[in-house]
């Protein structure tokens, strides 16, 4: 929880990632015609790419934030388990990422003239599930790469391929929901994939994080 408090005081990561995601949303408008009807179909993909990029910024800082003054070593030596430390960081990343997404969504709706609230609660469910998946995978890789040379390069290199199932499911579901279609029979596989991804990686991460931090 200390991550959230320091983030609320410092606001460095969240400001940077927020402006970053808005800049990317802006850049996408040059990549294709922002007024076209196609935007509805592409909305899911667009949004989750933005979130994945912004998420990489957030998780990059997650453990690296504690590097100065050997804070990370102190945290590891403190009498809490590595799993608890990891869980706290994952929750902090989750909250940060969710904040970014909840701000980006209306901005996206304004920029691209998309009415995204038609299936609001289903969309929120997808957003929460996928964000948890991204946070938990991101945080475990953040722990893995924190002391590595080329940290900024290795982290996205390793983490994006693992995130793909989660992102794919989120993209498919959000595209349908933003277009106003409720989750139907055909989308159920994606919802299952998303939920399965969350469960499997949360369990794996909590079991394995001990090996990364303590050894």
């Amino acid at each position: 929880m200390k991550d959230l408090r320091s983030e609320i005081r410092g606001k460095e990561t969240i400001n940077a990632s927020l402006s970053f995601s808005i800049v990317i949303l802006l850049l996408f408008s040059f990549a294709f015609d922002p007024d076209s009807e196609q935007i509805q179909a592409m909305a899911g993909g667009l949004l989750w790419l933005v979130f994945a990029f912004a998420g990489a910024l957030v998780i990059n800082r997650s453990f690296a934030r504690d590097l100065p003054n050997d804070c990370l070593d102190a945290l590891i030596a403190s009498p809490i388990s590595a799993a608890a430390l990891f869980f706290g960081k994952a929750v902090a990343n989750f909250v940060l990422l969710l904040t970014i997404e909840l701000v980006s969504l209306p901005v996206f709706g304004l920029f691209y003239n998309v009415n995204w609230t038609r299936q609001f609660w289903s969309l929120m469910l997808v957003v929460v599930l996928a964000t948890w998946g991204l946070s938990v995978v991101g945080t475990i890789f953040s722990a893995m790469t924190v002391n590595m040379r080329l940290r900024e390069l290795m982290l996205p290199m390793l983490v994006y391929p693992i995130m793909i199932p989660c992102l794919m499911a989120a993209i498919q579901l959000s595209a349908a929901l933003i277009a106003g279609r409720p989750v139907g029979e055909a989308d159920l596989i994606w919802l299952k994939l998303l939920a399965g991804f969350d469960v499997i990686y949360t369990a794996l991460a909590l079991t394995l994080v001990d090996n990364l931090l303590v050894g």
Partner: protein
């Protein structure tokens, strides 16, 4: 003894491979719908099996390493991952050649192809992670964790043709009885070639693992020399 076993198996695998090639090219007729190009299946499918079995073995070895802290398992996981990357590449490339004839395009973004490519990239990331870490214990631990985290991707690839509607042909062989649509002679050749390629995979892993163990010893000696 170990050497002899490796080379003996190697000779056997090579002989089997030559025999299989002979059967494929001289005895088996062209497939009714696809013509000559169907023969690619005799390499495409066994390469995929080698990739997946190897991925499973690497994950098991990684778990064993984390439990027992024995570097033998780390060497095995590293060797296996390197070798299966080659077979994954063979699988992808032969698949693309086949797709060029059967579908008219090199690459279709369907679930099986995409998930296979993703798995392949993830195991590439595993090797990059190993390169990026110098300290052997840390490298072994982190690589083991990554290998375990990567394996669910292989399960997705395995099930991709069941979960989604894809262009990829359904399973040609099935463990449950004879409900597959493949000719018995072709099926036998496929199994024999599977055996040959699996043996070949095993030999490569054994050789590579020995190198990895020797490299570790060498590294240890060098560190010792430095400390003196």
């Amino acid at each position: 003894m170990r050497e002899k076993l490796i080379y003996g198996t190697g000779v056997f695998a090579a002989a089997l491979l030559v025999y299989n090639l002979y059967v494929m090219l001289m005895n088996l007729p062209d497939e009714a719908a696809q013509g000559a190009v169907y023969r690619i299946i005799f390499f495409h499918v066994p390469a995929a099996w080698s990739f997946m079995i190897g991925a499973l073995a690497a994950m098991v070895a990684s778990i064993l390493f984390l439990v027992r802290k024995d570097f033998k398992y780390d060497a095995f996981a590293a060797a296996t991952t390197e070798v299966i990357l080659v077979f994954g590449a063979i699988n992808l490339i032969t698949g693309m050649i086949w797709a060029r004839y059967a579908w008219g395009i090199w690459w279709a973004w369907d679930a099986r192809l995409t998930s296979m490519l993703i798995s392949w990239l993830m195991y590439g990331g595993y090797l990059m992670l190993r390169e990026a870490l110098d300290e052997p214990t840390q490298r072994a631990r982190f690589a083991a964790v990554l290998s375990i985290l990567t394996f669910p991707g292989v399960i997705v690839t395995w099930n991709a043709i069941k979960w989604w509607r894809t262009q990829h042909p359904g399973p040609v062989l099935s463990i449950q009885g004879n409900k597959n649509g493949m000719d018995a002679d072709m099926q036998n050749t496929l199994y024999l070639n599977f055996l040959a390629i699996l043996l070949f995979t095993g030999i490569l892993i054994a050789v590579r693992m020995r190198q990895e163990i020797l490299r570790r010893e060498l590294d240890g000696l060098r560190r010792e020399a430095h400390s003196i």
